[in-house]
Amino acid sequence: MSTSYLRAILAVTWKDLTAELRSRELLSAMLVFSVLVLLIFYFALELDVQTRSEITAGALWVTFAFAGTLGLNRSMAIEKDRGCLDGLLLVPVDRSAIYFGKALSNLAFMLAVEAIVLPLYSIMYNVNLFYPGLLGVTLLGSVGYTAVGTLLSAMSVQTRTRDVLLPILLFPVIIPVFVAAVKASGGFLNGAEWSEIIPWVNILLVYDVIFIAVAFMVFDFVIEE
């Protein structure tokens, strides 16, 4: 990998982060939405002490998945609406650099939301979430989620139904991430044996590697004009 390729990736990411730092429209929407989901969970599931220990991992991942689609949609829609994508396509670098740049910035937004939601959940429901393992699983799950989500959002913004389509495309194919992340997080929260958690971590790793590789290979087909 040449340095110019790396620099192209970072330039795309940097552009997104700077734009976000100035407008704050994406992160604020994701955050407010996440907090609302957490509140709704409280009323919908009556999160008393006993239920909490069992469904914390699930509630968190549902929140991340839903908030994630908001961010993915918005981040790609900005490129499409203002014609930025056409500009990016003119740049003489390998187009997969655009994919990795977008995926990195999407990952950054997702992690930023998680970095606020996790402590918030911790305070609101009085659960300790600060296990290194849990944080690691959150990272692995988010990587898989954004790797697939970035590619699918690049497709969905180019269709007539746009934002409606992304969750429909994304959710059925990220089920392995979802199952594995929930089980692994739950394992860390309930102090399960490492041997019980490791298969889930393996699934996350395998999924991340496969889908990053495939997205890298097919991204050209998605933005070809």
């Binding site: 699918l152 429909i168 194919v173 199952v179 496969i210």
Partner: protein, 229 residues
Amino acid sequence: MSPQPRLLHVLNILSALLLAAGTLMVFWYAPVERVMGAVQKLFYFHVATAWVGMIGFIIAAVVAILYLVTKDLKWDAINVAAVEISLVFFFIAIVLGSIWARPAWGTWWTWEPRLTTAAILEMIYLAYLLLRQGIEDPERRARFGAVYTIFGGLSVPLTFVSIRLFRTIHPVIIGAGGSEKMNMTGDMVVTMLFNIAVFSVIFITLFWHRIRLGQFAEQVERRKLQLTH
């Protein structure tokens, strides 16, 4: 528009005859299962339709790669045909399985790995069709369809593995054992294999028809464009 080739005519008739023969075999040749009774007869159709769904799924994934490599729209027509047929046959398999499960397991639905994976696969197919519906340009529609088919084709095996793991850690009593424990006699196996063969022929016939339909739709689309320009 070309008329149906002779071989396709033969296949039409053959499919109907074989379906009748397969059905007769299920009802008259195969013995009634001792424990489950008559409802077990659904199993022959269940296995056969699931088999057809599986073939469609594999063909769709292979053809998607071929499309992206060659950019020939004929692969796209085959891709849609495979997905649509697979969608319908998996649906039939799920419904039949459900009807069978009610008396056998005492519930319409269990979160059994194969059942759950089949249901998720149906959702992927529906998403695929919605995706195609939202795109007008046939070339882009084909590209996106192929990419999404590849994503589906890769995620489904992982989904299956993760759900299976999910279940071994949290065993569900209902349905434990189930069809694997079913002891089949020789004539049951023959009936099952015969029906799998029957449905394979039906698959080929439908597949051919659906591909032709795709080609006609493409011709119509092209002529419409010629008229408007």
